[in-house]
Symmetry: none
Subunit: 158 residues, 2 copies
DNA sequence: TCATAAAACGTATAATTATACTTAAAAAAC
DNA sequence: GTTTTTTAAGTATAATTATACGTTTTATGA
C-alpha cells in the first residue's frame, strides 16, 4: 500500500504549512492532485490528530495553520514545587509580601498566576520577593488559609 | 449610552479566558446569564472580530481560546503600540493590576509613564504584570475611561 | 433639523466540520 | 491458521459556524 495514513498526514502538514488552505474541501482537492484519494470526514479526523487549528485571516475569514507555528504562552506547572522555596508572608492593607529564596520569586509567581486563585488580583516578582495584590475585602487570615489549602507544602512556612 | 457591543466583547474575552467554552451556544448561554441577550450569528461575528480561535482539546474535541494565549513563533509585524499586548485590568483599593503578554510589562509601563497621566501616581512592572498606583479618590470606572481615552486600542480589552 | 450613510444585528439558511454507524483491513492473541 | 481486537476510513447525517439579506439603530453632514 503506497498511501498510508502517515504518508497522508505528512502531506497534509506540508500543504498546511504552505499556507493557502481555508477549508477541508480545498485540502481534499490539493491532496487528490497529489494522488491521495480521501474524504472530508477523514480529513476532519486527520486535522484533529495533527492538532491543526484555524486562525483568523484578514481576507478569507479563517485559515488553517499548524499549531506548532503557534506556541502556548500558558505556563505549565509540574514536578517539584517552587513554592517550597518560600520563607514567609507579611501583609499590609490589600497587599501581601511573600519572601522566597533568592532568584526564586519569578517562578513562584508564575505558579501563583497559573493556578488562578480568585483571591489574587495580580502578582509582581522581584528576585526573592513577590508582591501579591489581593482582592478587595479579603482578610489576611482567609488568604493565608486559601494559600495553604492550595499549596499544602506551605503549611508551617507562612 | 452604554456601549453594548464593547461591553459584550469584554465579557466574551473574560468568559473565553476562563476556559470552559466549547461552542457558540454555550457562550450565548453564559452571556445570557450575565444579562447579555444576543444571537449565535452575532457571536460568530464577535469571535472573528476578537480573533478567538478553537484549539484541539483532549476530551471535548475543540475549545475556544483567546489567540493571545497563543503566540506565533513566526516573526510577524503586529501593531506598533505595546499597549496591544494588554489583556485585562483589575482593581483592588487604589491599585490597578494590568496584565500583558509575558515580557511586555516593562515596555507597557514605560509608555504609561511617558504619557504622564495625572491619574497615575506610579507604576511597577514585573514580567507580564504592572502594578499601577492610582491617585487617591479616583474611581475604577473613571480610570478605565481615562485609559481608553488615552489608548483607544485598549477598548474591548480592559 | 432632516436626509443620508454607516454600523449593528436578527432571521433564515448556506457552508463547513464533526461524528454515529458500518465495513473492511490489519494486528494481536490464541 | 483461525479468532478476536484494533485501527482506518467511507457514508450519511448531525452539529456547528458563517453569511446574505433585510431591518433597525446610530453616526454624519447639509
Amino acid at each position: 500500500m503506497m498511501n498510508t495514513k502517515s504518508d497522508r498526514h505528512r502531506a497534509i502538514r506540508q500543504i498546511i504549512a504552505a499556507g493557502q488552505i481555508f477549508n477541508q474541501n480545498e485540502l481534499k482537492e490539493t491532496l487528490e492532485s497529489q494522488g491521495f484519494a480521501t474524504t472530508q470526514a477523514t480529513l476532519s479526523r486527520d486535522l484533529m490528530a495533527l492538532k491543526v487549528i484555524k486562525v483568523p485571516h484578514a481576507e478569507k475569514g479563517y485559515i488553517y495553520t499548524l499549531s506548532e507555528n503557534y506556541q502556548s504562552t500558558a505556563p505549565q506547572v509540574e514536578g517539584s514545587s517552587p513554592l517550597q522555596t518560600c520563607r514567609s508572608i507579611a501583609f499590609s492593607g490589600n497587599l501581601a509580601v511573600f519572601k522566597c529564596l533568592p532568584s526564586f520569586a519569578p517562578s513562584v509567581a508564575l505558579v501563583l498566576d497559573a493556578v488562578g486563585m480568585p483571591e489574587i488580583i495580580g502578582t509582581i516578582a522581584g528576585d526573592d520577593t513577590i508582591l501579591i495584590i489581593l482582592k478587595e475585602g479579603l482578610s489576611h487570615e482567609r488568604f493565608r488559609t486559601a494559600l495553604v489549602d492550595r499549596f499544602p507544602e506551605l503549611r508551617d512556612r507562612i
